[in-house]
């Protein structure tokens, strides 16, 4: 019976170097403009474009929407906050911190997208 159970052997992979050589780095895929390289590039460009459009959408809705709101409801102009008319409060003061906030969030997210892209390229 002892013949049928083979001795334990240590299993190692003798072909580690060969196995690694088969994987082409993503950077080379992009340089050679292969299908895979195209996928890497278009995912980067698409994620950055989506981010840019998101920021522009926020700008369009919250700043571009102001004339429309006041056109539909002209009485809003009569509201005063601390003796400052509401349109003044929005256009002369409140709009600038908002623009800065959108810009700050955009820069953070855009740099994160780029870090993710270079991480993927380094890992392969």
């Amino acid at each position: 019976m002892s013949e049928s159970t083979p001795r334990r052997v240590r299993v190692t992979s003798p072909r580690t170097s060969a196995a690694r050589a088969q994987r082409v780095p993503a950077a080379r895929e992009i340089d050679a403009q292969t299908r895979l390289g195209e996928v890497y590039m278009s995912s980067l460009i698409r994620s950055q474009l989506r981010l840019a459009l998101l920021a522009l959408a926020a700008l369009t809705v919250f700043v571009g929407g102001i004339p429309l709101v006041f056109w539909l409801a002209p009485d809003l102009s009569d509201i005063e906050v601390l003796a400052v008319p509401l349109p003044w409060l929005l256009l002369a003061f409140a709009v600038y911190p908002f623009l800065l906030l959108v810009g700050w969030l955009y820069v953070r997210a855009a740099e994160r997208n780029e870090r993710a892209f270079s991480d993927v390229l380094d890992r392969t």
Binding site: A27, A52, L59, D78, P87, L100, Y106, E114, F117
Partner: protein, 509 residues
């Protein structure tokens, strides 16, 4: 000493300081790269101050307060649009434009679309927009000097042109960067310091709301002054057209675009732009307050049609005696800082394009740049002396609508859409530029129709910008064989972070 004496001293001090700070930069300016792009080594903080200093022109320093005084809240859309334009620039253009590795906008166009034709057309547009924007700077300088010191209206423009030319000739972009960074802070101080005194007086007088007073019939009163919609007829269309022109036109201005090449890399270009957003937001809090206070303390300026000088005259009206005159001299000095910095930036941008695309073969390097600078200044100076009737705000508005209809689609589609072709780009720029240019020329010459037609021609951006985009996309789609051969490689260069080792093709030059 008289009020005019203080103003002359203030303006002289600005001229001397500008030349001195510029001279500090001359010592560093040696190579062609120094002259064009300050060797691409300017840090975000300094660069953002320089961009802010260059961007805040006569229209921002004098025009906004005057427009708010005369027409009310709707005019706040101009400073809001000029700031939001930088946000649009940040998210769509900033980093890829820097990564393109081009010196000027025509360089970008040629390397992206691989076509000499697109290069020539965009060079022509850059020079046209630059001159259109320089002309009102020289005119504004003449008006400001004439209204504070009583000299001839030609002298201010001539002085500004001379100082700009000296700095650009000897120091190029390197020297101009220091000058403009200094001038942002000078302009901010020149508005903020008098305002502290005037706000104290306003609070002492019982803090009356500017909206509560009636001023002659030129501007609206009561409700209309507070409304954020422009004018009486077609108010929604006109307001949105101003919004589109300013939001999208900023990225097409030659002196704005050329600044991005001075950043060390794409990420720095983004951070610089974010800095600029903060600096512009800070500055634009101030001019509208001058307009509002002007309604209470200098309402006669509206009736006499001199509302643009409210920033210059308000301090001496609200504060009696020497203190008021000194503060008025300070705002006059700030106005000249505005003329000088914007003209310097435009001159560098236009000179760069003229020297590369017109003179490049006959002279080389720095010599060509200096010859280009002379042409870049003399032509608009001559035009400003000839055409004194055209208003400062009108010419600046034309420049924005024109830039939004031509160079904005070229940049946005060039960066984000791989299938753009050279034929498509040329067609789009011709259609957009032709319609926008024709519309505003018709309005300026007074041949525009009444009613809707007139509104469409007076503020054309709302229809010319979409038309330019559609033409570019449409013509590109029907000429798919002309998609540039290396478009994929160029997209790698525009969008990948510099830290990654990649084949980015050949950057221009």
């Amino acid at each position: 000493m008289t009020a005019a004496g203080y103003s002359v001293m203030g303006v002289t001090a600005v001229f001397v300081a500008t030349l001195a700070v510029g001279a500090y930069g001359w010592r560093f300016s040696r190579t062609t790269s120094d002259f064009f792009v300050a060797s691409r080594t300017v840090r975000p903080g300094l660069n953002a101050s320089a961009i802010g200093g260059e961007y805040l022109s006569a229209a921002s320093f004098l025009g906004v307060a005057g427009l708010v005084l005369a027409f009310g809240t709707e005019m706040l859309w101009y400073p809001v649009g000029w700031t939001a334009g930088y946000l649009v620039l940040l998210v769509l253009v900033a980093a890829p434009l820097r990564r393109s590795g081009a010196y000027t906008l025509p360089d970008f166009a040629e390397s992206r679309l691989e076509s000499r034709g697109v290069r020539r057309l965009s060079a022509l547009l850059v020079v046209a927009i630059g001159w259109l924007y320089l002309m009102p700077q020289f005119q504004g300088a003449g008006l400001a000097l004439a209204s504070t010191t009583g000299t001839g209206s030609w002298l201010g423009g001539l002085l500004v042109a001379t100082v700009v030319l000296v700095n650009v000739l000897f120091g190029g972009m390197r020297s101009i960067t220091f000058v403009q960074a200094f001038q942002y802070w000078l302009k901010l101080t020149a508005l903020l310091f008098p305002l502290l005194f005037m706000a104290a007086i306003w609070l002492g007088d019982g803090a009356v709301s500017p909206a509560s007073v009636d001023v002659a019939d030129v501007g609206g009163t009561g409700d209309s002054w507070v409304s954020p919609l422009a004018g009486v007829e077609h108010e929604v269309y006109t307001t949105y057209s101003i919004i589109i022109a300013t939001f999208l036109g900023t990225m097409g201005l030659p002196h704005v675009v050329v600044r991005f090449y001075t950043n060390p890399d794409g990420a720095a270009a983004r951070r610089t732009t974010l800095f600029v957003l903060a600096l512009l937001g800070l500055f634009y809090l101030l001019p509208p307050v001058y307009g509002g206070l002007g309604r209470l303390y200098a309402p006669d300026l509206v009736a006499s049609g001199r509302s643009e000088s409210v920033v210059l005259e308000l301090p001496s009206r609200m504060l009696a005696g020497t203190a008021g005159e000194l503060l008025s001299a300070l705002t006059t000095a700030g106005a000249f800082a505005a003329f000088l910095s914007t003209s310097s930036g435009l001159t560098v941008a236009v000179a760069g394009v003229i020297s590369q695309d017109v003179m490049g073969r006959r002279f080389g390097g720095v010599r060509a740049f200096q010859a280009g600078a002379v042409v870049a200044v003399l032509v608009p100076l001559g035009l400003s002396l000839l055409t004194e009737g055209v208003g400062v705000a009108q010419a600046v508005g034309l420049a924005f609508a024109f830039a939004a209809s031509t160079l904005c689609p070229l940049l946005v589609l060039g960066i984000w859409w791989r299938r753009l072709t050279d034929v498509g780009a040329i067609a789009g720029m011709l259609v957009g530029g032709g319609c926008a240019g024709g519309a505003v020329l018709a309005t300026l010459l007074g041949v525009g129709p009444e009613g809707w037609g007139g509104a469409l021609l007076a503020q054309p951006a709302a229809w010319t910008v979409p038309l330019a985009f559609l033409t570019m996309v449409g013509v590109s789609l029907v000429t798919p064989r002309r998609v540039p051969r290396h478009a994929a490689r160029t997209m790698v260069r525009l969008h990948t972070p510099e830290s990654v080792q990649l084949d980015r093709g050949n950057p221009p030059r």
